[in-house]
Amino acid sequence: MRFEGSDHYHLNAELHEIVNIAIAMEKPLLLTGEAGTGKTRLAFEIARSLGLQMEEARCKSTFKGEELCYVYDTVLRLNDSRFGSGTTGRDVDNIWDYLRFGPIGRAFLAEDRRVLLLDEIDKTDSDAQDNLLDVLEDGSFIIREINHRVAARIKPIIVITSNAKRELSDPFLRRCFCHAIPFPPPEEMALIVRLHFPRIPEHFLQACLTSFYRLREQGFEKPPATAELLDWIGSMEAGGRQAPGAGKDVAHIGTLLKRSQDLLKFKGAWKPPRY
């Protein structure tokens, strides 16, 4: 099973190899890097190009890890035991009727190989990450209520993304293949833009990239990334602009800079607070 990029996603040679090594070794692939470098997209592209189904878990800070595997609906079972399950077909004596599986559980129990995406894992507590160690290690988790180990029928391809806002624990990292996606250099960025806007004129593209990389160097709180660049070019194309403009006169600046402080700084009105 080899992953070979796709027509909507520019895959550099290094990342391509890395994905294939991770698939061959059946190890979870942890991608870190700036927002907008295509970490999450990569998981979708793997699924698309290999023709596999996706299971995605967008992490929240309140997650404990377990609910990604399964949820045991105690209240429903109590309710059924009191009032009867009626015509729902549930059997109160059978706990399996009251277990609902989360994305990890579904990926493990599926008959086919799936791509499992754990998005923005760094949002969760370190406790939640610890709860997922077994999942990463050998593709299994335990349903505590009945002490039953669910093992993956076919190990899914696990892709984990992290914005590295907070550091992940060592045991967690040990179980993954880790790769930091660097921000694409201009030549590669040109290829990426061309994939999305095949008809863009060369000089226009070059002018955009120049302005874009110049903006990135100015030390904004949230420097514009790939996603912003694509939005920006898209908005200019829709608006029929011939040139991106330069200096203070960049068109549709709102698509590139999102924070009001960055915008003010760009316009030159913002001064750092003085102590």
Binding site: I21, M25, D125, Y275
Partner: protein, 399 residues
């Protein structure tokens, strides 16, 4: 290959047996048909944190491209400040081969290239050219040979990544070499815990529900409780004044950066030598934080004081002891510290001065050590401090 693994360990990349097994497993399956892929494979298996990228790349270059590990310091700054370059420059100027005013003319790059020329010429004379430039292939500059356990180094690589990446040294700034190893410190800090019921009552208390339902004669009564979560709140008080702290600035900075990177709920205040009724919100100590505000927070917050506890005894013991000329506070510093200690049931004092020197350094260290539990800023000290905070904190969190 085993040699490579030891090279990695020496370079400071943590290697576990599990990684090594994984590595050989992957080799067996033919996942590294060429050097570029071997590079990626090894990096995926052995490098888990960005701060190790650099060390890994150096070790890889050294083992597979035969670069001499002794000449690993490729960063210009290191090179220029290094002894060989200085000595070479002196020799050149003394011998008249390089007139003094030419030094500024050449610029740094010119100088460096001359330095390398000399170096290479010397290597040629002494060692037959096998280490730096040679045609037998054990070198980054040569070509057409075998190296590193029978793996083809040169010729057209599939993607050209390995050498390109190594040449780029994209992650050059990450290799953090400090007295306290970053990952150990991280682990020590990660065990800092404060389990406390938080949030709305959403977790079903099954036992209680069953028992109440039974008492109700089968009418279901659902009992919810709040979840137990790690919600650690930490206040760090930093002594940032005076000359006595100056030698410890880098050490304190490392530790503090780690604490700040690991914890979510952290606030920092500043003081100078001793605390007199207020701590400050900003490093220059111009905006004081009212004592009462601090007191309000204190019950379930952990307190870490980082300071050398080294001051004139009067600052600690006497009334009007503060060094601030305008201070009108009558209560001596010691009383204030006692009060602070009383406010924060879980607290610890971290002292950058190594423990064995406390007795000689200053009498006030012992005095303060009797008020606060004191540890030094070594890994062992921090581990003990964390244990101490957890032990003290458990009694507070119980409520």
């Amino acid at each position: 290959m085993i040699g490579f693994i030891y090279e990695l360990r020496e370079a400071g990349v943590p290697v576990s047996v599990q990684y090594i097994l994984e590595f050989f497993h992957a080799l067996e399956r033919g996942l590294a048909p060429d050097l570029d892929r071997l590079f990626l494979l090894a990096r995926l298996i052995f490098v888990k944190r960005e701060e190790h990228y650099d060390a890994f790349e150096q070790a890889f270059a050294s083992f597979f491209f035969g670069a001499n590990p002794a000449r690993r310091a490729l960063a210009w700054e290191d090179l220029i400040s290094g002894k060989p370059f200085r000595e070479w420059l002196e020799r050149e100027i003394e011998s008249g081969r390089l007139p003094p005013d030419a030094v500024s003319e050449f610029g740094m790059e010119g100088l460096l290239s001359r330095f390398f020329e000399t170096l290479l010429a010397q290597e040629g004379e002494h060692h037959g050219g096998s280490t730096w430039v040679g045609t037998r292939g054990r070198s980054p500059f040569g070509h057409g040979g075998m190296s590193g356990g029978g793996i083809r180094v040169h010729g057209q690589g599939l993607h050209g990544t390995a050498r390109k990446v190594i040449a780029d040294r994209r992650f050059v700034n990450y290799s953090g070499k400090s007295a306290l190893a970053a990952e150990n410190l991280r682990q020590a800090l990660a065990s800092l815990k404060s389990l406390r019921p938080t949030g709305p009552e959403t977790e079903l208390d099954v036992d209680e529900t069953v028992s109440r339902t039974a008492r109700n004669g089968g009418e279901i009564e659902l009992v919810f409780r709040r979840e137990l979560r790690n919600r650690l709140k930490l206040i760090v008080l930093l002594d940032n004044g005076g000359y006595s702290m100056t030698p410890y600035v880098p050490l304190v900075r490392t530790v503090f950066a780690k604490i700040a990177g690991t914890l979510r709920d952290l606030r920092t205040f500043y003081f100078h030598n001793c605390v007199y009724g207020a701590v400050y919100l900003d490093p220059p100590r111009t905006r004081p934080l009212n004592w009462k505000v601090l007191a309000n927070e204190s019950r379930n917050t952990r307190l870490v004081i980082i300071g050398d506890a080294n001051m004139a005894p009067a600052e600690l013991m006497a009334s009007y002891g503060s060094l601030d000329v305008g201070a009108v506070e009558r209560k001596p510093g010691r009383e204030w510290l006692k009060e602070l200690r009383g406010m924060f049931p879980a607290s610890v004092w971290l002292n950058p001065i190594p423990e064995e020197r406390w007795r000689y350094e200053s009498a006030t260290i012992g005095q303060i050590g009797r008020i606060f539990h004191m540890e030094d800023l070594t890994l062992a000290g921090i581990k003990r401090a964390v244990e101490h905070l957890n032990a003290e904190g458990r009694t507070v969190d119980g409520r």
